[in-house]
Symmetry: C2
Subunit: 200 residues, 2 copies
């Protein structure tokens, strides 16, 4: 954070090789008019491949992001944090809110433009979400700093296309604070890949 925040984001984005899939984990979601501007910012201006979207405000807050070809909308389903139990896990007559959100949003998009955030901190629930939307990719945070279980996540979440984007952020970002950060971060990345290998 600083006076040059916007330029910093541009510079970071410019350092990422163009074949890498980029996700702006921005958790946006607003009235249609404003969501359309956020979509333009992340997809056109910054040229991200994907952006995370908060579903609370419903269809017209999500659809402007779905209007782009060859871009991905990653909607919060069942998040990895403790607060997931406050609203996402509320029961609504036999169905939890996160289930309703995931099945409803799946009907607005397709497996070619829509993914869902499903936290690795709920490995026993990933199987059930996989059954609800067999063809959709999941972005899976919570492995690493948040204590999620890689093995159960893979066993419960893989589909015929793999279907899982396992996300590790703080483990890598904060791998070291000294001049060896590059090497430490690389090692943290490789450790995650090694951990995934048996399951894919």
């Amino acid at each position: 954070m600083g006076t040059k925040g916007w330029e910093t984001l541009e510079k970071v984005k410019a350092c990422i090789p163009s074949h890498c899939f980029t996700i702006a984990d921005a958790k946006r979601g607003d009235i249609g008019n404003t969501s359309a501007m956020y979509a333009k910012a992340f997809f056109e201006f910054f040229n991200f491949d994907a952006v995370t979207v908060a579903p609370y405000m419903g269809r017209d807050s999500v659809e402007p992001f779905l209007a782009y070809d060859n871009k991905w909308v990653i909607v919060l389903g069942l998040t990895s944090n403790q607060g997931a139990q406050d609203f996402e896990m509320l029961d609504m007559g036999g169905e939890k809110l996160y289930e309703k959100v995931i099945t409803t949003v799946a009907s607005w998009g397709t497996p070619q433009n829509t993914m869902f955030v499903v936290g690795a901190t709920h490995p026993h629930l990933i199987k059930q979400v996989r059954d609800l939307v067999p063809d959709y990719f999941f972005l899976v945070p919570g492995v690493g700093a948040q204590g999620g279980d890689m093995q159960m996540t893979c066993e419960n979440g893989l589909n015929q296309d793999i279907g899982l984007l396992i996300n590790s952020s703080r483990n890598i970002l904060y791998a070291s604070s000294d001049e060896n950060f590059g090497r430490s971060a690389r090692q943290a990345c490789l450790a995650v890949l090694e951990e995934m290998k048996p399951f894919i």
Copy 2:
């Protein structure tokens, strides 16, 4: 939107006289760690008085914003857009999701640091939300471009402290596209004030 987005926001903020109450309508909400950084950005770096927050991710996504003295957290309750019916209005055993969100979040904060977004496009429901949380302020979008009803909003939403921040954005922002914008925007502001006058 442009390469100088961040600086533009700083310049806009610097133009607002310090006695004016400023709201960053940013609809943030993320895991605690990240919400804490958003709170720092809006409350410390930009020095906004208030920020809007999306509640989907639950308590640890909202609480970092509540940790600041003399700042306000404005949580999405019942929003003004059509998509409000998709999730916010879902029934969860006699209670709607937005009611559960509002009463739950009210228990995390106080009327001195927490407000709720309650759209003027649901004037018949504002009375019911007012009964749920009699002492909390509401930020009320949807008057103007979105067609909300000022009279019913005031009749149903006022409390002993007034309790309503009526928001008009596009009516004023897009009052004119010619060189008379300043005058047109001022007239649009005054028209809203005039419309409110009979009720306060």
